[in-house]
């Protein structure tokens, strides 16, 4: 299918540009500096030289880029100079954790948001609608870490219901593993939900105003049928788009929330890697996140196309 091929090529081109951008941004420091900061306390020049060679820091920037890209696509993501671990191996489990976290948060946020959004759209302008709308504007404006810290205070410190952090993820039984997800996922869901509610509401209001909805009502169909059969399917396309768009923010949110709750995911790793100057890890994470994000966008586009196939 040429359309698919074209979008795939566009995707690859974008990825390539991302890789250049990332590589350029992380290669601003000279190899010497990188080695110094990685090796730390009083090192000999020989060690620095060895490091530069081992990390593939010698040669011109384009050559280094070429080498790095070649290695990257063949699965060799380098070794973190800080942890001495192969980057790919280190990121695997963290990536899994982060993905689960994102999915859990999404599942936590989406269904109630749809229900609430549809409900208030139906009684647009009512007191509940105003309350929900204003509430979502307020909630949407709160930084993730503020929501997270407040939840931590309420649920963990005051009520003692949940652990304050996600260290249960590293070991501990299933219960502790599950608990480890609770606060981060809840925080993310709270940050996402207002966006979703607003979008569902706006989309549903649009659809409800459509003549075909009034036509359905005037055919004597019950309200439930009208809402779920006639309104919801027509918001689906927009909804998928909204979810896809919000996933960018979800990725950002995951980074923040992981750092609030010491959750062992890629976001936490990214921030430490940035502050430690762990270049290979930062590069790999940028690429992984880029791929993930693009995959999501493409998937969303495909779904939207499918959903809207019938509706032009």
């Amino acid at each position: 299918m040429p359309a698919l091929l074209r979008s795939l090529l566009a995707l690859l081109a974008t990825l390539w540009l991302i890789s250049m951008l990332t590589f350029a941004a992380t290669s601003l420091r000279s190899p010497q500096e990188v080695a110094q900061s990685a090796l730390g306390r009083g090192v000999a020049q020989e060690q620095i030289d060895a490091f530069v060679e081992q990390q593939g820091l010698e040669g011109s920037l384009p050559r280094r880029y070429g080498r790095w890209l070649g290695d990257f696509v063949t699965g060799d993501w380098g070794t973190s100079p800080i942890t001495q671990l192969p980057v790919a191996q280190e990121l695997g489990p963290r990536l899994r954790n982060s993905l689960i976290l994102a999915v859990v948060a999404l599942l936590l946020a989406l269904p109630p948001s749809i229900a609430i959004g549809l409900a208030v759209a139906r009684r647009r302008g009512g007191r509940t609608d105003v309350a929900v709308t204003t509430g979502s504007v307020v909630l949407a404006a709160l930084p993730e870490f503020v929501v997270g810290v407040v939840l931590m205070w309420l649920l963990a410190v005051q009520a003692g219901l949940l652990p304050v952090d996600s260290s249960g993820l590293a070991f501990g039984g299933l219960g502790e593993q599950v608990e480890a997800f609770a606060l981060p996922a809840l925080t993310l869901a709270l940050v996402l939900a207002p966006q979703f509610v607003r979008m569902v509401r706006a989309a549903a209001i649009d659809v409800i105003a459509q003549p075909y909805v009034r036509a359905a009502v005037l055919r004597g169909l019950p309200a439930r049928t009208v809402l779920w059969r006639h309104v919801l399917p027509n918001t689906a396309g927009q909804l998928v788009n909204v979810v896809a768009v919000n996933l960018v923010w979800l990725i950002g949110g995951v980074i923040v929330v992981e750092n609030v709750f010491a959750f062992q995911g890629i976001g936490q790793r990214l921030v430490t890697a940035v502050s430690q100057g762990d270049v290979p890890t930062v590069q790999a994470l940028a690429m992984v996140t880029g791929v993930l994000f693009l995959a999501i966008s493409v998937a969303a586009d495909a779904i939207v196309a499918r959903v809207e196939a019938g509706t032009r």
């Binding site: 992380t26 404006a141 930084p143 870490f145 205070w153 990725i251 693009l294």
Partner: protein, 284 residues
């Protein structure tokens, strides 16, 4: 919809949420501007009270672990989360908006190139992009402003381009071109007045995100560094002692919330006024 006499301020004040937002914003701004003068103690002065003390008459919000007055620190801690986002958004709006306007007006190859460029930058999740850049550039207030501006630049550009395009195709612009108006006139008199409103609403919305953004970077320890008082840094530092001195975290949290919420309320009112149909999802 009547668009006449619709100065942004009046548009904001007309909507109830806009009024609340404006009041809140004024309050926060007053705190930031007058705070240093009002602070009962120097914000960095140690041991003005017993460390980690609860609220009292002398220390309305208690003290932190070094015995500094939390109230004074809150009063003095808002500068960076206001100034840096403002500069960043201004930069993004000027540069990105300018480019977007050019792309939208010129169309053709320039449009294609710029749009593609915007798209590429936008494919990187914003926080990731900022972190990557900070990894390369290090962190300081100017770097922060530029980096955040860079994140928002393509978004501002896209909006400006879309707005320009929607107007550039309008018959009245065609009419102007048929008359042989100069590009300056067409852009300045025919296009800009019609997109200024939406762009302003968009900038206000972006400001909300910039505030969240800068606060988040400060929180992650990649922005403003202690001991300078800063709301997000206070939260980050106070998190550990939240059980003992919750006010040391909750007070700056409320301050940040007030700031970003007020910005968002204003943005919301502006959006509702200028472009009731703009899908906010498409905006960021």
């Amino acid at each position: 919809m009547r668009r006449r006499g619709g100065s942004a301020i009046r548009a904001v004040l007309r909507a109830p949420e806009g009024r609340i937002g404006a009041a809140l914003a004024l309050l926060v701004l007053a705190i930031v501007v007058l705070g240093p003068a009002l602070a009962p103690y120097p914000p960095e002065k140690l041991g003005v009270g017993a460390p980690s003390a609860g609220p009292s008459a002398e220390h309305l919000l208690g003290t932190d672990t070094l015995g500094r007055d939390v109230l004074s620190r809150v009063l003095c801690g808002g500068a960076s989360v206001i100034v840096i986002p403002l500069i960043a958004v201004l930069l993004a709006q000027l540069v990105g908006g300018g480019l977007g306007l050019a792309a939208g007006y010129l169309g053709g190859r320039w449009d294609a190139i710029l749009t593609r460029l915007f798209d590429v930058v936008m494919t990187l999740p914003p926080l990731l992009l900022v972190l990557v850049l900070i990894a390369g550039l290090g962190s300081s207030a100017p770097v922060l402003a530029v980096v955040v501006a860079l994140v928002f630049l393509p978004r501002a550009g896209r909006i400006a381009r879309a707005a320009t395009r929607s107007v550039a195709g309008a018959d009245y612009v065609v009419a102007a071109r048929l008359r042989g108006e100069s590009a300056g006139y067409v852009v300045g008199r025919e296009i800009l007045p019609n997109i200024a409103g939406p762009l302003m609403a968009d900038a206000a919305l972006r400001l909300t995100y910039a505030i969240i953004f800068v606060a988040t970077l400060n929180f992650l320890g990649l922005g403003v560094q202690p001991p300078r008082p800063d709301w997000a840094v206070m939260i980050s530092e106070g998190r550990a002692t939240i059980a003992v001195t919750p006010l040391g975290v909750l007070a700056p949290a409320v301050a940040i919330a007030a700031l970003s919420v007020s910005a968002n309320l204003i943005a919301d009112a502006l959006t509702a006024h200028w472009s009731p149909d703009v899908r906010r999802a498409g905006v960021h």
